[in-house]
């Protein structure tokens, strides 16, 4: 690794100043993407700003009104083990659990995953189907935007000079909402998603789908929301036929490429299979346990 200056700001203001003063500085969270790239000399930042010791940066908390807050230092492992993430934000917790190994999950942050903006980022589909927003701090103050808009292309996010991500806020899901995420990889662990699919559904007391989210990973330059497939589900009872129809439409919406991991055709077919499974898993999770037992 090339030499660089290391900053460990204790306040948001110090962090913004450090980033503003060193235009080519890079933010360091868990380092599981950044340090690998610095070793390879793909990135050669003259300065590195570590955001892990900012106040509340390791905060992972839930409140009924505001939802789930994920600080800039919150690790994949924290989310994986969080009972509130598992029960209310299944797709996000499951995405975090797929990442690397325990050692990697102890370091890798959710926010680093989003900032890194890989199309295969395992927490992105879950965050996007839950309408998560990034909170950005910068020289001009704070702003927020959806994770969906924030991730702009492979390795590209919406941050401007001097800005960094302070936290992610995920709205509290409506009652009878469930979500799930799965990825396909040739190996069970330590692999990158060939296809990843996150889904969420909200059901009315009578079992009609009132809202649906489907997000596809690794089949477009960014995690891709399958909006046409979503609209097929809304207002409907989630019968196997409807779910299969939505899954087929989702596979049409995907824009996969052929690369070393898989052909475009294989990816498209996997989108269909996994979307079907994830809508089913999400609606199971959305169904209150009592009626599930009775059924």
């Amino acid at each position: 690794m090339q030499a660089f200056e290391y900053f460990q700001p204790k306040t948001v203001r110090e962090a913004v100043q450090a980033l503003h003063k060193h235009p080519k500085a890079m933010v360091l969270a868990g380092g599981t993407d950044l340090l690998v790239r610095m070793k390879d000399r793909v990135n050669r930042p003259p300065a590195v700003v570590d955001v892990k010791r900012l106040p509340r940066s390791d905060d992972l908390s839930y409140a009924g009104k505001t939802g789930l807050h994920i600080g800039a230092a919150v690790s994949m492992r924290q989310v994986e083990l969080s009972s509130v993430a598992q029960s209310r934000f299944g797709a996000i917790a499951q995405g975090a659990t797929f990442v690397g190994s325990i050692q990697i999950r102890n370091r890798a942050t959710v926010i680093g995953n989003v900032c890194n903006a890989a199309p295969s980022a395992d927490t992105a589909p879950g965050l996007i189907v839950h309408d998560a927003k990034v909170q950005i701090a910068g020289p001009k103050g704070r702003r927020t935007m959806t994770v969906e808009d924030f991730m702009k292309g492979p390795g590209k996010n919406d941050l401007k000079r001097g800005e960094f991500v302070l936290g992610i806020q995920v709205p509290a899901p409506k009652p009878r909402t469930g979500s799930a995420y799965v990825r396909h990889t040739p190996r069970e662990a330590m692999d990158i998603a060939v296809v990843g699919v996150g889904a969420s559904v909200t059901l009315s007391p009578k079992g009609i789908c009132t809202a649906a989210g489907i997000c596809l990973g690794a089949v477009a330059p960014v995690p891709l929301r399958a909006t046409k497939a979503e609209s097929i589900l809304v207002g409907q009872k989630l019968t196997p036929g409807k779910i299969a129809q939505a899954a087929l439409v989702a596979s049409d919406e995907a824009r996969p490429i052929t690369d070393v991991r898989a052909t475009a055709g294989f990816r498209r077919e996997m989108v269909r299979v996994l979307t079907e499974r994830m809508i089913k898993a999400a609606s199971r999770a959305a169904t209150p346990t009592r009626s599930r037992r009775a059924a």
Partner: protein, 166 residues
């Protein structure tokens, strides 16, 4: 510019002057001369460099030394006592869970941490817990057997004592 950091390694406090670009792995091996922790891939994939940082296993090749300022680190050198091996180490020897030995330090550190969190893991939980520790020699079967065996060996009375103290 170097940074002066303080860290505790296996219970011993150290003050070291580190360059920001030096990894924790390099600080341990090259500055503190504790060479039990190995460097395999240097990219987080193989787990040979696994250490316990503030209670959590990490790949020390992907942690900067400066990031470990104020931290508590356990390396493979801190697993056995002067008198006896840790049950995981004993079991690895007995079951033949070691061949060339390059992965072994990492495998033992990960296994010890795994058993601390989950004293009675299933073989599947052991496999998932060790997913980040690659081994080119053993084929893993003997390693899984050893960790299963170690879980049985770790004496129950000792753990009961700990929980009573709460």
């Amino acid at each position: 510019m170097t940074h002066d950091i303080e860290l505790t390694v296996n219970g011993v406090a150290h003050s070291v002057s580190v360059e920001p670009r030096k990894t924790l792995l390099s600080v341990l091996r090259d500055q503190l001369h504790m060479t039990g922790t190995k460097e395999g891939c240097s990219t987080g994939d193989c787990g040979a460099c696994t250490v316990i940082l503030d209670g959590k296993t990490v790949t020390s090749c992907l942690v900067l030394g400066v990031e470990a300022d104020g931290s508590d680190v356990t390396t493979i050198e801190g697993i056995a006592t002067c008198e006896e091996l840790h049950p995981v180490q004993e079991a690895i020897v007995e079951k033949g869970g070691v061949q060339c030995g390059f992965c072994t330090a990492g495998i033992i550190v990960s296994s010890v941490a795994l058993l601390n969190e989950n004293p009675k893991p299933t073989p599947d939980q052991i496999r998932r817990g060790l997913a980040g520790n690659l081994c080119r020699c053993t084929g893993y079967t003997k390693v899984i057997e050893a960790v299963t065996d170690a879980a049985k060996k770790i004496k129950k009375p000792a753990r009961r004592k700990v929980s009573k103290r709460k």
